[in-house]
Subunit: 123 residues, 2 copies
Amino acid sequence: MSIVSRRLEDELREGPEISPELDRLMRNARKASDFLKALSHENRLLLLCLLAEGERSVTELENILSLRQPTVSQQLARLRLDDLVTTRRDGKTIYYSLANDDVRRVISVIYDMYCGTPASDAK
Amino acid sequence: MSIVSRRLEDELREGPEISPELDRLMRNARKASDFLKALSHENRLLLLCLLAEGERSVTELENILSLRQPTVSQQLARLRLDDLVTTRRDGKTIYYSLANDDVRRVISVIYDMYCGTPASDAK
DNA sequence: AAGATATATGCGAATGCGATAATATGTCTT
DNA sequence: AAGACATATTATCGCATTCGCATATATCTT
C-alpha cells in the first residue's frame, strides 16, 4: 500500500503536468466511494447483514426488520443497481442474496466493528 | 454472524411488540452507517489512503492530491469530527494520521478491492 | 509589531437523497 | 378472466451535503 504516495510524489517532482497516476487513483477512489455510498445507509446495512446469512425474500426482510414493503423494495433496488445483491425468482416471491465476496468481506468487517463482541455494542 | 436473524425471528414469533434486539441492531447500524458516510467521499478516501501510509501535513496532502487548501482542510475537519483521524501540531504545521485500527482495517479492505492487483484497477 | 506561512472556518448556491404515499406490474389460483 | 398476493416504480417534498470562495486564526521569523 505504501507505493501510492511514492508514485505520486515521483510524478510531482517531474513538474506540474497532469499526473496519470493521480488520475488512475482518483478514478478508483470514485468507484470505491460509490460502493461505500451504497453501504452507507442504516436500512441498507441491515438488509445486507441479513443477506450475509443467506438468501431472503422481500417479505421476510420486511417482517424481520419491521419496515414497509416499498421501503425495502426501494433500498433493494438501489443495492441491485450497484451490483451488491442479486435476485432469483421463484413463482411470486423473489429471493435476494449478496452478489459477490467483496460485499461479504466488507460487511463482515463492519459487522465485527459494531456488533462483534457484546462489549463493542455500546461503542 | 448467523445469530442476527435467529434472535430477531424468535422475537417476531413472540408478538408484535417492539423488539429490543431489533432496537439494538438498529442503533449499531446507525453508528456503522455514520462511519461509512464519513468514508464515502472520493477526496476523503484519497486522504485516508495516504494517511494509511503514515502521518502527513495538510500541505503535503494538498500537493500530492493537487487539491486546494480549503478543500483539504474541510474534509480533514469532517474526518476529525468523526474520529477517523487525529492531529499533532509541530510549530506551524499540523500532522494528520489515522485515529485507530478500525479505520486502518476498513481502508485496507477497500484499497485491496479497488487498487489491489493491477488487473482490478479497471474494475 | 509586521509580514509570511500554515491551517481553519463561514457562507451561499447547487445538488442529491430519503421517507412516504399512491400506483403499477407480475404471478398464482380457481 | 378475476381476484389475491408479492414486488416494483413513480412523484413529491423537505433536508442534508457538497463545493468554491472569501476570510479568519494561529504560529513563526525578523
